[in-house]
């Protein structure tokens, strides 16, 4: 009987190909281990931006969760983030979930919430769960009735964990919902929107300077909107920059309904690829970016870590603001070693895995969600770790969570990561961690 965590090397996985990924790496093929390492990742609605918190990114909105009690239990964790006054719950009992009789109560509940609040909310997000996914509830209709009853726009938020691997997974639907209240208005040529994350980019990200240098005077981000009026200004954008593929569908809706075209960029940690991406963006909007200072700064941060600590061996997780495989590839290309990856491989990142296999064929790839991770213990050389999950597995090693709410992007993301790694190494050397 196997008593070890399952892994496969990068070379073995690349040789098998994307069509033959072992079942142990595919969450649909086995039970899911909600390891302490991955709770934020695997617990929609918990502390990170799950559907519940994402739905409330619309300023001045409130949420009505229509579900059995178990679905809303951990929402209390969001209280400490200041959401306690923004959640309401319509609790379903077993008769409700069999008969669907609760659907007629939703508009009444919305009306009661709107009437009771001191200030009328900008919107009521009606969050539904697996129950409605299975019952096939027509949420558009429910929301129309609720809007009429409450006198406030009601918008669906689909917390459908059952459809996590579908074309429109819950977080893509959430992104569609949160931009759905925007109305068409004249676009302004010197304004754009950045889409993809629920919180804003880190303030020092070079993309702000680059866009301003290109004549963009106002950059809209939903994570920076403090009021509903600011939120509504997003539809003045002349174009959108989509930084996360899950926002593509929302961007497509905005293109169709508001006439705002979009460009997709990817969060990368290989600085040459970042440079190529900015060149492409510049061509799309008709400018040439001078990104040299930012490139140099990022390259210097990488060199500084290498110079001081040598060819470190890393373990790279997935509970962080990066793609595990792209980051592992970047580290390898920079001359570091990646001993282990705890990540989810798929169509999106298999290309990085193939390149990684050429440079670092012995890198071990684990799936955080595999039940065999219950048996995990370290067998490789690791000097430092990246990601909250990797830090859980190796609490004794220096590491960085790199999972903050301010989103890293571009050269700035690289600079931040390597600076934080150097600091973690320094603290560990000094015995402070």
């Amino acid at each position: 009987m196997a008593q070890t965590a399952y892994y496969i090397t990068a070379a073995e996985l690349a040789a098998r190909g994307q069509a033959d990924i072992p079942h142990e790496l595919l969450s649909a093929k086995h039970f899911i281990y909600s390891s302490p390492a991955t709770l934020d990742f695997n617990s929609p609605g918990a502390k990170g931006f799950g559907v519940k918190r994402a739905g409330l990114v619309i300023p001045e909105s409130v949420m009505l969760l229509v579900a059995p009690g178990c679905c809303g239990r951990n929402t209390a964790l969001l209280d400490e983030l200041g959401y306690s006054e923004r959640f309401f719950y319509l609790m379903l009992d077993d008769t409700d979930i069999v008969t669907g009789r609760y659907l007629t109560k939703i508009p009444k509940a919305c009306a009661e919430i709107a009437a009771e609040l001191d200030k009328k909310p900008s919107a009521i997000m009606i969050c539904v769960t697996c129950v409605d996914a299975l019952l096939g509830t027509d949420m558009e209709r429910v929301c129309r009735s609720s809007t009429e009853a409450a006198g406030v726009p009601a918008v669906p938020a689909y917390m459908y964990a059952l459809t996590r691997e579908k074309r429109l997974p819950p977080m893509a639907l959430a992104r569609k919902s949160i931009y759905s209240l925007l109305e068409k208005q004249p676009r302004k040529s010197d304004e754009c929107a950045i889409m993809g994350y629920f919180s804003a980019l880190e303030d020092g990200c070079e993309i702000y300077d680059l866009l301003r240098g290109a004549g963009i005077r106002k950059i809209h981000e939903i994570g920076r909107c403090q009021t509903f009026a600011e939120y509504r200004e997003i539809s003045r954008a002349n174009f959108s920059i989509v930084l996360n593929a899950e926002a593509r569908y929302a961007a497509q809706d905005m293109e169709k309904n508001l006439g705002i075209p979009f460009i997709e960029l990817v969060r990368l940690f290989r600085i040459d690829k970042i440079r190529n991406q900015y060149r492409g963006l510049g061509q799309a909007i008709g400018v040439t970016f001078d990104d040299a200072p930012y490139y140099e700064e990022a390259a210097a941060a990488i060199a500084a870590l290498k110079q001081q600590y040598g060819d470190l061996h890393f373990a790279v997780g997935e509970c962080m603001n990066a793609d595990s495989f792209e980051l592992a590839l970047a580290l390898t290309e920079y001359g570091f070693h990646v001993s282990e990856i705890y990540g989810t491989i798929g169509e999106r990142n298999f290309i990085f895995l193939k390149k990684l296999a050429e440079l670092s064929p012995e890198t071990r790839i684990f799936s955080n969600l595999s039940p065999t991770m219950l048996n995990y213990c370290r067998e490789t050389e690791i000097d430092a770790v990246i990601g909250a999950d990797a830090m859980y597995y190796h609490p004794e090693l220096p590491g960085v969570h790199f999972q903050g709410e301010e989103q890293p992007f571009g050269y700035r993301g690289v600079t931040l990561l390597f600076t934080q790694l150097a600091e973690a190494m320094r603290l560990r050397e000094g015995g402070s961690v």
Binding site: F31, S34, A76, E80, Y89, L92, A133, P371, L374
Partner: protein, 344 residues
């Protein structure tokens, strides 16, 4: 509106309660969900998740699994995992998904046992009820299944039912065991906390059963009926600071809100006060006094507190009783405030 929570967030559900009872028993427990329910259990209702490893998994159901009723695939995955992790039994815990599609849990139990060769307990919790309902279901199923052998009674052995983090906020049994040993019991076992399935199999050795939550009453009644083991209800884990504040009260009208046995135990510390106990959870009539109430809605709590000078309850209930001008004594209950309240 009934069932509309405007101030509280939901209390611990039945699936969390069932998982809490099974957590330390050495089985493989599968929550029959898409992932979110397991996340709630592991990330919120089960503080032992960060201290003690357990084979607790999500079935990872997807929409077509539910729509097509692919129980055979669920069982096949269970069999796979039995080949990877040592276990004494398996358990399948219900959630809203199997409730909607009317999963036959008895059939799942039989299919699993045939496929894995291990005993299986399938509990049809559905996430709409509260934790003690799930605990009660799990305790009863466990003892009926495994506590079948009549062994010689050890006169100084005490068994305790209801010792779960959701009832007590504790993740270890040593404090309660020490307290009971001080009362003269030589051997004390808290079923399901710091003890495994072997102790449940040997339950008939106990001379007495102490039930610290209504969730243990059905299992205790089974042991009494099957082996003649007597039981009593009490809660010897009252926080000292709560007792001190309660004992200082005189001439007050007091409302205690907690699980029933904890509230009853605290009531005994009041002097010259009128008191009613209220609970959002199970209320066993044989252990209730006149005026004790079961609360199901926020308004009922407001009504219960309306004629009281003192409320003794979890801090989370303050939100419901914002207008309450009397004295508040904090009496944490993990099933109410959970990880967010850090009551453990």
């Amino acid at each position: 509106m009934k069932k509309l929570l405007k101030h509280l967030s939901p209390l611990a559900p039945d699936d969390s309660g069932a998982c809490g009872v099974l957590y330390e028993l050495g089985g493989i427990t599968v929550i029959c969900d898409a992932g979110g329910c397991a996340g709630n259990v592991c990330g919120f209702d089960e503080p032992r998740w960060h201290e003690k490893k357990a084979a607790l998994f999500s079935a990872g159901l997807r929409d077509m699994d539910a729509i097509l009723g692919r129980d055979d695939q669920l069982v096949a995955k269970l069999a796979d995992i039995c080949g990877q992790i040592n276990a004494e039994f398996t358990a399948i815990i219900g959630t809203p998904v199997p409730a909607v599609i009317a999963t036959d849990f008895h059939a799942l139990e039989r299919m699993s046992e045939r496929k894995t060769g291990l005993p299986c307990i399938a509990l049809p919790t559905d996430g709409t009820r509260l934790y003690d309902y799930g605990e009660s279901m799990a305790y009863e199923a466990l003892f009926r299944r495994f506590a079948t052998e009549t062994l010689p009674v050890k006169p100084k052995k005490l068994g305790i039912l209801g010792m779960t983090p959701l009832n007590t906020g504790l993740t270890r049994a040593d404090a309660l065991i020490t307290a009971m040993q001080a009362q003269g019991w030589e051997e004390v076992v808290c079923f399901g906390m710091d003890s495994g399935l072997a102790e449940i199999r040997k339950a008939s050795e106990c001379a007495h059963i102490l039930v610290i939550s209504p969730s243990g009453v059905k299992a205790a009644a089974y042991l009494q009926k099957t082996f003649g083991t007597p039981f009593t209800a009490d809660y010897p884990l009252l926080p000292a600071e709560v007792i001190t504040q309660a004992e200082a009260l005189r001439g007050k009208r007091v409302l205690i809100v907690h699980e029933q046995f904890a509230a009853n135990a605290l009531r005994k510390h009041l002097t010259d006060c009128t008191c009613k106990c209220a609970t959002w959870f199970l209320l066993e009539r044989q252990f209730a006094e006149a005026g004790d109430v079961r609360i199901a809605e926020e308004q009922q709590l407001i009504d219960a507190a309306a004629d009281c000078d003192v409320v003794i309850a979890d801090e989370r209930f303050r939100r419901v009783l914002r207008g309450f001008a009397g004295q508040w004594i904090s009496f944490p209950h993990y099933a109410v405030s959970g990880a967010a309240g850090q009551t453990a």
